[in-house]
Assembly symmetry: C2
Homo-oligomer: 138 residues x 2
């Protein structure tokens, strides 16, 4: 199967998606593009259960508001679970679901790929800077 055939086959899959399934696809992609979602997923993947404050320590730079929001979104989409313990002081633990682990596993190869292509990316960027001064015209 050539690349082109793979691409066309995959387009066929996408075209066949129901509106609901397409929404799921967008949700997943939304998490991938999100600044924090993937970092949180990875932290939970590596560490297992984590409390709110541990997460905020480990995901460097995240604000409390965005951590709360990201966790809610991840929970809504079934990628993590949230367990609240009625104690004083309060305790809440977050953990990846099977779905969340699955997504993480799916994504990991991409990072290796990006690393492999990093020279190409850098070159593309510098070429673009060149073109900004002298556009390519035929």
């Amino acid at each position: 199967m050539t690349d082109t055939e793979i691409i066309k086959a995959s387009q066929a899959i996408c075209d066949a998606l129901s509106a609901e399934e397409d929404g799921l696809k967008r949700d997943v992609l939304g998490h991938l593009g999100n600044t924090w979602s993937l970092l949180i997923i990875q932290m939970l993947g590596v560490n297992g259960k984590l409390r709110f404050s541990r997460l905020q320590e480990q995901v460097k730079g995240i604000s409390q508001k965005m951590l709360t929001k990201s966790l809610r979104d991840l929970e809504r989409d079934g990628l993590i679970t949230r367990t609240m313990f009625l104690e004083v002081p309060p305790r809440v633990e977050y953990e990846l679901t099977e779905l969340g682990r699955g997504l993480l596993i799916q994504i990991l190869p991409l990072w290796t790929w990006v690393l492999d292509q990093s020279d190409d990316f850098k070159m593309a960027r510098s070429v673009f800077d060149e073109k900004a001064k002298k556009p390519i015209v035929i």
Copy 2:
């Protein structure tokens, strides 16, 4: 290699990324999360070269402004090429680069995976709706 080992190994890779490489990773993820980028990449993957107006037709619902912006971003990151022909009327053709095709190929398995998990996603969502009324507490 267990899932956990894979995850930890990948974290090691990410930790080893230089600031520059980490920026590239974020750029790539940004494209994945973008509403239009992936659609454009897929259209170009399936159709090969496409003109601006053909793209706007095929990527349903995109505005002229966002198409322009998305194409610029994709070009800057080396995923597509832009070729302008000095004619009257003007003509511009967009096409995937090798890098762009590579990214598309990397992403495609994810869509199959999402489809496979779609029942799990739906169930997670409905469980979350339940919890909104009656939070799970221990």
